[in-house]
């Protein structure tokens, strides 16, 4: 495996608070890494550093290929889509097709859309409006929307938090399938250690002022968060 992200002594301090300190880890291409830790420990801050919303105040983040060429897909924790949200799942997913300025989609773009809908098992539901979709279907649509831009790295920020157990499993099984079959690199931010253990192979555990990183098999089996 090759390195996709290499964090070297990474730190971030706001005016009166050190959020992250001396954090070093690597994300290998094709890996699935769980980013875990109690609330307020800096998981979201680290994600914001990775997607470029924040810049580190110490150390550096090295991307391979470099940041300009690396495409990061991010599925945020919350969406505020109302029950009357009018767009179909197909239209919603296509919102992230930004390679062209033309108002209409080319044949190639339509084919790419068909492919993503198939990969995320949404083909049969593509005409359903997002407002009428279930929690799991919405989550898959968010995932498909991030995937349509063909990201090198996909970050799922507590994406399964609001779902029931069965739907969580369904969404994570899909992510694992995309990782297995298409080599998608995934960072899964979660509080759910059971899901993390079952579906990811690496972990990065942020604690206050410290961290642990390694293969999932080495994560303390008795660990509990919060």
């Amino acid at each position: 495996m090759t390195e996709l992200v290499n964090a070297q002594h990474l730190g971030l301090a706001f005016s009166n608070r050190q959020v992250l300190k001396d954090l070093s880890f690597t994300i290998e291409r094709g890996s699935m890494t769980s980013l875990i830790g109690p609330n307020g420990v800096g998981k979201t801050t680290l994600v914001r550093l990775l997607i470029g919303n924040l810049q580190p105040t110490e150390g550096q983040l090295v991307f391979n290929p470099d940041k300009q060429k690396l495409n990061i897909g991010y599925v945020p924790q919350f969406r505020n889509l109302e029950a009357e949200y009018p767009l179909s799942i197909r239209s919603f997913v296509s919102l992230n097709q930004l390679d062209s300025h033309l108002p209409w989609k080319s044949r190639k773009e339509r084919q790419a859309l068909d492919q993503i809908l198939e990969q995320t098992h949404l083909t049969a539901l593509q005409k359903t409006t997002v407002g009428n979709a279930s929690g799991g279907e919405k989550q898959k649509a968010y995932l498909a929307q991030a995937l349509i831009s063909k990201p090198d790295l996909l970050i799922l920020d507590e994406s399964t938090a609001s779902l029931d157990i069965e739907t969580k499993e369904e969404v994570m099984a899909l992510v694992a399938e995309l990782n297995r079959e298409h080599g998608l690199t995934v960072i899964f931010v979660t509080h759910d250690l059971e899901l993390a253990r079952k579906y990811t192979d690496q972990y990065l555990f942020l604690k206050r002022g410290q961290y642990e990183a390694g293969p999932m098999s080495q994560l303390d089996p008795n660990l509990e968060l919060d």
Binding site: I51, F92, P103, S149
Partner: protein
């Protein structure tokens, strides 16, 4: 009917304005900015009155006021918790200013009625050209950043997550909206820009599931409304604005019934 110059001018201007408003309205509705559009139209009323007071064309006064205030208004009402309060306060201030300028200009009441309720009949050829240019500029403006505006309007959190400059897009959109509101007021008046800027878009929201579908329905209903309104206004000598409002309301009601039926 089209043998008369004033009717030809009205038809050409209305056609361009209806297309523009139909397009921009879809984004207004998606961004939950209907009331902001209404506030801009009230600012437009003050601008038009200011134009009358200063001896410049009311449309230019409107453009001046709406463009200068659009970004500030957008920022003041950005927070949902204070949106209603900000919009009420700003609307009151500008309607008051509009009344003041009209009073200072010593114009008669019919001038105020024209600004508030529209006066498409009697529009000059020079005005038609100006409206066509402004409509064209808005359409080109929408076209240039079409996909970015669509993404930001229909999924602002997703757009931000993918790294789009959503703040800049919002400012860009507010400028396009300010111009659209000013030109819509030429047909239906500043008090009733809802008729063209938001009602066709709400109709489209009930009937279509894709953005191109919504744009097509919104433009079609706006166009039908103004064309039929002008024709009925010509036949009856009743106000065109009344007919456009009634027709758009009719379309809206039918669309709502259809939407409720298929949602069951």
């Amino acid at each position: 009917m089209l043998t008369f110059d004033f009717m030809r001018h009205a038809f050409v201007a209305s056609t361009f304005i209806a297309i523009t408003c139909g397009l921009i309205g879809v984004f207004v509705v998606a961004r939950n900015m209907s009331f902001l559009a209404h506030t801009l139209s009230e600012i437009g009323f003050a601008g038009a009155s200011f134009g009358v007071f200063m001896g410049i064309a009311p449309l230019n006064g409107m453009l001046l006021f709406t463009l200068l205030s659009s970004i500030t208004i957008g920022q003041m009402s950005a927070k949902e918790s204070r949106r209603e309060a900000s919009i009420s306060a700003i609307s009151s201030l500008f309607v008051g200013l509009g009344i003041l300028f009209l009073s200072l200009s010593n114009r008669n009441a019919s001038y105020a009625i024209n600004i508030l309720f529209g006066s498409i009949i009697g529009i000059s050829l020079a005005d038609v050209y100006q409206l066509i240019i402004l409509s064209g500029a808005i359409m080109i403006g929408l076209l240039i950043f079409y996909r970015y505006l669509v993404f930001d309007s229909y999924d602002p959190i997703g757009a931000q997550a993918q790294g789009l400059k959503t703040n800049l897009l919002s400012i860009y959109f507010l400028i396009l909206l300010a111009v659209s509101v000013s030109i819509a007021a030429q047909i239906v008046g500043s008090l009733l820009v809802f008729i063209l800027v938001t009602i066709p878009a709400f109709i489209a929201k009930y009937l279509a599931k894709s953005v191109p579908g919504m744009l097509a329905i919104s433009v079609a209903t706006a166009l039908l409304g103004v064309w039929l309104g002008l024709w009925l206004g010509y036949l009856t000598n009743w106000p065109v604005t009344f007919f456009i409002a009634t027709i758009e309301f009719g379309f809206y009601f039918i669309a709502l019934l259809y939407h409720r039926r298929i949602s069951r």
